[in-house]
């Protein structure tokens, strides 16, 4: 009797367990996906979640799936998935922030601004973060900046000070005037470079042009016509080359200012994680 019961029980247990431990069941995929998600392996979590979602709906997994897409830098797809969680989800607010964050990282600033007009797209919980992202789009674009009051109003304390400093530097960069520098170099060779702060180059240009001119004059005086002509040519080239070089140096200086500011801004945003909050889905 007992033996029979045992056998039946054993068979039952066997069947139930052999069916229960299917590592590829939906539930197990979800569990494994969550483990991968939390350990930062988003690309593999993405695969598990996709399998899960193709069979079953779950609002947590949906936003998590979107987040994995975001993390593996497939930003436009991430935006689509975040958008699909805008309604009837327990993460409506997070999905909206995720949506704008994805557009921001995809560099789709126009879409970003267009969707900002739609009132119901903006989550009241994360409005501040979304508006900060909006400000950052202006800082990263080449276009002139709009009025600062609105742009800076979402930042506080230190961030506000830093952002207004960037605003000023981007709005009124300390550019060097290329024309002025070139004119100076035309008057006195090398002086334009000195104006640009490159003293060594300026004085060198002055000496070489001067020396070549002196040699030209000297040779003409000594009736060495050919040598005189050669030195005149060289002096002329040196003179014009220096003027052009001065204009270029100003150009380089101005490009440098822009590039450096851009780098600095990007670094600042990155260091502050784009002012995004840490979200638990």
């Amino acid at each position: 009797m007992i033996k029979n019961i045992l056998i039946i029980f054993f068979t039952f247990v066997t069947i139930s367990f052999s069916q229960g431990i299917n590592y590829f069941s939906l539930e197990n995929r979800k569990q494994f996906g969550n483990f991968l998600f939390e350990s930062g392996d988003f690309i593999r979590a993405n695969d598990e979640y996709r399998e899960f979602l193709s069979n079953q709906e779950n609002d947590t997994i949906r936003v998590r799936y979107a987040e994995t897409l975001f993390q593996i830098e497939r930003y436009t797809e991430a935006a689509d998935y975040f958008k699909s969680a805008f309604y009837n989800s327990s993460f409506e607010d997070e999905a909206r922030l995720g949506y704008f964050k994805s557009l921001f990282f995809a560099g789709l600033y126009n879409d970003f601004k267009k969707d900002l007009e739609i009132k119901e797209y903006i989550s009241p919980v994360y409005k501040n973060n979304i508006m900060k992202l909006n400000t950052m789009t202006y800082y990263l674009e080449k276009n002139p900046l709009p009025d600062s009051t609105e742009l800076l109003s979402y930042f506080e304390d230190e961030a506000r000070i830093k952002m207004s400093e960037f605003y000023l530097r981007k709005d009124i960069p300390e550019r060097k005037n290329g024309t002025k520098a070139a004119l100076l170099s035309a008057l006195i060779p090398g002086s334009g470079k000195i104006y640009l702060g490159e003293y060594g180059d300026g004085i060198t240009a002055f000496i070489t042009t001067g020396l070549l001119t002196y040699l030209a004059v000297d040779n003409f005086n000594a009736k060495h016509k050919l040598r005189g002509a050669v030195f005149s040519g060289l002096a002329f080239l040196s003179y014009v080359g220096n003027i052009y070089g001065t204009a270029l140096a100003a150009e380089k200086f101005n490009i440098g200012i822009k590039v450096n500011l851009d780098k600095e801004i990007r670094l600042y945003f990155k260091e502050n994680n784009y002012f995004l909050p840490e979200i638990k889905y």
């Binding site: 930062g40 060594g200 240009a205 000496i207």
Partner: protein, 135 residues
């Protein structure tokens, strides 16, 4: 003692857990070469106009007969001759020539004041043509 041990193991584990995603694509196996890398890079010019061709031809002759034999004299990278060909290929013969003259003056710089340049490998000052042309 045990607590210390478990705390220590936690400390070891944390960096592993927070390591960021490094795989953005499904990658394929690669063959890893044992070879040492020789650092030689052949310059590539942006355009192939007639002046560029003529100049790079002249440069090749100059390089073969003189520049390869008189040592490493230019403090910049790219070197002055490369800079000349590149500037002509980018801006045309006249502007390119003036850019080269300016570069040559800067090469000559009696005071060797070169703080404004970025230093790269072999202690060369990085000064490519692109720095002077805004798009």
């Amino acid at each position: 003692m045990r607590i210390i041990f478990s705390l220590a193991s936690l400390l070891i584990l944390i960096p592993v857990l927070i390591s960021a995603q490094t795989e953005l694509n499904k990658w394929e196996p690669v063959k890893i070469s044992y070879e040492l890398k020789a650092n030689k890079d052949e310059p590539q010019y942006s355009s192939n106009g007639i002046f560029t061709k003529m100049l790079s031809g002249t440069k090749a002759v100059y390089k073969f007969f003189i520049s390869d034999l008189d040592g490493d004299n230019c403090p910049f990278h790219p070197s002055c001759s490369e800079f000349y060909v590149e500037s002509v290929s980018k801006t045309g013969l006249f502007k390119g020539t003036f850019m080269f003259i300016d570069r040559f003056t800067r090469d000559l710089n009696f005071f060797k004041s070169r703080e404004q340049y970025k230093v790269i490998k072999n202690n060369k000052f990085y000064d490519p043509v692109e720095y002077y042309i805004s798009n």
